[in-house]
């Protein structure tokens, strides 16, 4: 069993939901990125989603676009991202690590060599927003061989036939997109979300994690009532961006642990 499956099984036993924070590697600076990632993990992350920065991230809103541009300017490459994972693993970090990146970064590296190097470094899964399940044939073959989970998306616009393909091709968990749109913090969760998740539940037995627009502990508590995990990206980056330099770690710790707290209390209230 790989780390992702083990983690979801454990959470199920304790009745908790998974908190999955997202941060691009190399942000806000190369010197601080690893320490910041460790702070995020120590503050309550159950799984970690590391962004492989892309210059034209089509599924991302302004916050992640700006962070990606900065990370690239700092010198972050896919090779560097793999090295960061290697060092995090050497330092004893054992939670599941998932790369979120766009097709062309992996193609440019070479799919086979990437799969091999990523697995050796300790990468457990991949989220590729511009790789729909119906285009993913050759990718699925390669990453299954190297035991890296390919995590696909369900959107509110996904048809039943397409959902079947997501379930067939995907492993790890299913990434449920809360709204039609790009990533970015939002004030309100869409009303249709619970229904969307219960429909997804009928299609698959994989864990369902919700992302896009999740920003506050209140959102997390709400989503935790019906989903298996929440993904928080842009809102976390905004906390980092707005924190005074000497308080960045404190602010991040406060924010991430408040989100984690929300996944636990919601679970206990539904028990």
């Amino acid at each position: 069993m790989n780390r992702i499956q083990v983690t979801f099984d454990q959470l199920k036993q304790t009745g908790e939901k998974a908190l999955i924070p997202y941060i691009p590697v190399g942000y806000p600076a190369l010197e601080t990125t690893e320490e910041l990632i460790r702070t995020i993990c120590e503050s309550g992350a159950d799984l970690l989603e590391l962004g492989v920065p892309n210059g034209d991230p089509l599924a991302d809103g302004p916050t992640i676009q700006a962070a990606s541009t900065q990370a690239i300017a700092n010198g972050t490459t896919l090779r560097y991202c793999i090295q960061v994972v290697q060092r995090l693993r050497q330092s004893g970090l054992d939670l599941p690590i998932i790369f979120m990146g766009y097709c062309n970064s992996f193609l440019a590296y070479g799919l086979e060599s990437f799969a091999r190097d990523a697995k050796n470094a300790g990468v457990d899964g991949l989220i590729i927003p511009d790789l729909p399940s119906t285009m993913a044939g050759p990718w699925v073959d390669i990453f299954r061989q190297h035991e890296i989970d390919l995590i696909f998306f369900l959107a509110p616009t996904t048809s039943e036939e397409r959902a079947a393909s997501v379930v067939e091709q995907g492993t790890g968990f299913v990434y449920c997109i809360s709204v039609t749109g790009v990533t970015g913090a939002r004030d309100e969760l869409p009303e249709e979300l619970p229904q969307f998740i219960s429909q997804a539940r009928e299609a698959t037995s994989l864990p369902l994690c919700v992302g896009f627009g999740i920003s506050t502990p209140k959102h997390v508590a709400e989503v935790s009532q019906y989903a298996d995990g929440v993904i928080v990206g842009s809102a976390l980056l905004q906390v980092i961006n707005h924190a005074p330099k000497d308080q960045m770690h404190t602010k991040v710790r406060e924010y991430v642990s408040s989100l984690k707290e929300a996944t636990i209390s919601a679970a206990s209230s539904t028990r």
Binding site: L58, S105, L107, P129, T157, R162, V182
Partner: protein, 399 residues
């Protein structure tokens, strides 16, 4: 073979949120493309509103100057709105309306596609949002004014290089957000399936007309056909009916900007490598990490780091050749065509004319060359004149 591929090139590498929309578009298009009523609706608009068929003009002076072939110019500059873009814009707008989409989103580089879309939306009563790179808006001011006057909601894009690629990225993000009521009216033969196929089909009217015109005039097919290639919609529309006639040489001309050996060009089919960009697997300009390289061309419509997937396929199979023309050569051709033939070409199309001047010299008098003049140059006047003056000064100082 998966759908939407030309050899190994093509596909639809986009967010899951868009896939339902693309599948619906593909189905509707497959149903309608041979539908007599749909076809006649478009044909009628192209005739009554666009002014098709466009003429095939013999260039007698240019033939004489190059001492060789008979040269004909396909006059897409004479369409309503002044470029081939209207062929595709109108057809897709009709399709969108049939699909019940009342909101159109589009990108524009030179502004010609934006103007065409704004025009089609105004004619058909559709809401129109156009994204344009802020740098392009600066260098194509007349088209900015036209789009606004036509009632388009023009949104300037200040991210990235502030050119066509960034406008496409923002248009795609808008489309993801408003996917249910929005049709993305992509202007070139690029992007995810079914766009490269659909745009080619809607632009094939250029090649079809050319073919029947040349048969009537010369009673035979041309020996060579030349068109400029950014994303490649005017070229693929011109080439398409000739692809099966192997004796017709097809040449696509890319923008070499400040020089093909510099880093300031826009020639993915000459200097690019394989990758996925904006939804499609094709030749792109990228660095070793897969990040898109900045591009440069004096012609905003050619200033794009990716080639349409069918062009990549035609290149790899050898059915078409791809050449390049730099800014200076394009400007010289721009001036030449004005002065010698009384025709003001768009800077994009000037790349095709510039290469035709070279190729014609290698041809014999009994041979026929057709050049696609994809658009007119009114939009380029101030920028081209400035550049020409700068160029002439440089030459004087060198002497």
């Amino acid at each position: 073979m998966m759908k939407g591929f030309f050899g190994q090139f093509g596909g639809a590498y986009v967010a899951e949120t868009l896939m339902g929309n693309l599948e619906q578009l593909e189905q509707q298009y497959e149903q309608l493309k041979d539908d007599a009523q749909f076809r006649s609706e478009i044909a009628q608009l192209l005739n009554e509103f666009v002014g098709r068929p466009t003429p095939l003009t013999p260039l007698r002076k240019m033939s004489k100057d190059t001492g060789g072939a008979k040269i004909y110019l396909k006059r897409e500059d004479l369409t309503h709105t002044g470029a081939h873009k209207i062929n595709n814009a109108l057809a897709q707008a009709v399709l969108a309306k049939r699909m019940g989409k009342h909101r159109i989103v589009a990108e524009t580089g030179a502004g010609q596609h934006g103007v065409a879309v704004a025009t089609a939306c105004s004619l058909l009563g559709l809401e129109c949002v156009v994204y344009m790179g802020a740098l392009d808006a600066e260098r194509q001011a007349p088209n900015v004014q036209r789009m606004k006057l036509l009632g388009a909601d023009l949104r300037l894009v200040h991210i990235g290089q502030r050119t066509l690629k960034d406008a496409i990225s923002e248009a795609i993000r808008d489309w993801i957000t408003n996917v249910r009521e929005t049709h993305y009216l992509l202007g070139s033969a690029v992007g995810p399936h079914p766009f490269p196929t659909m745009v080619r089909d809607f632009q094939s009217v250029i090649g079809e007309e050319t073919k029947s015109q040349i048969l009537q005039l010369e009673n035979r097919l041309p020996d060579c056909v030349i068109a400029c290639v950014g994303g490649g919609s005017n070229a693929i529309g011109m080439f398409s009916p000739f692809i099966e006639h192997e004796e017709v040489r097809l040449i696509g001309v890319q923008a070499a900007g400040e020089g093909i050996e510099t880093t300031h060009h826009a020639s993915p089919l000459i200097k690019g490598s394989l990758g996925i960009f904006q939804g499609v697997y094709t030749y792109i300009l990228q660095n070793a990490d897969g990040h898109i390289q900045e591009t440069h061309s004096i012609a905003p419509g050619l200033d794009y780091p990716g080639a349409g997937p069918q062009h990549s396929h035609l290149k790899n199979t050898g059915r078409a050749e791809y050449a390049y023309i730099d800014d200076r050569e394009a400007l010289e051709a721009f001036e030449y065509l004005c002065r010698e033939e009384g025709i003001l070409p768009a800077l994009e199309s000037s790349h095709a004319v510039a290469h035709a001047l070279k190729v014609a010299k290698t041809m014999t008098e009994d041979q026929i060359l057709v050049v696609n003049l994809s658009g007119r140059g009114d939009k380029d006047l101030s920028q081209a004149i400035e550049a020409l003056e700068r160029m002439n000064k440089e030459e004087v100082s060198i002497r």
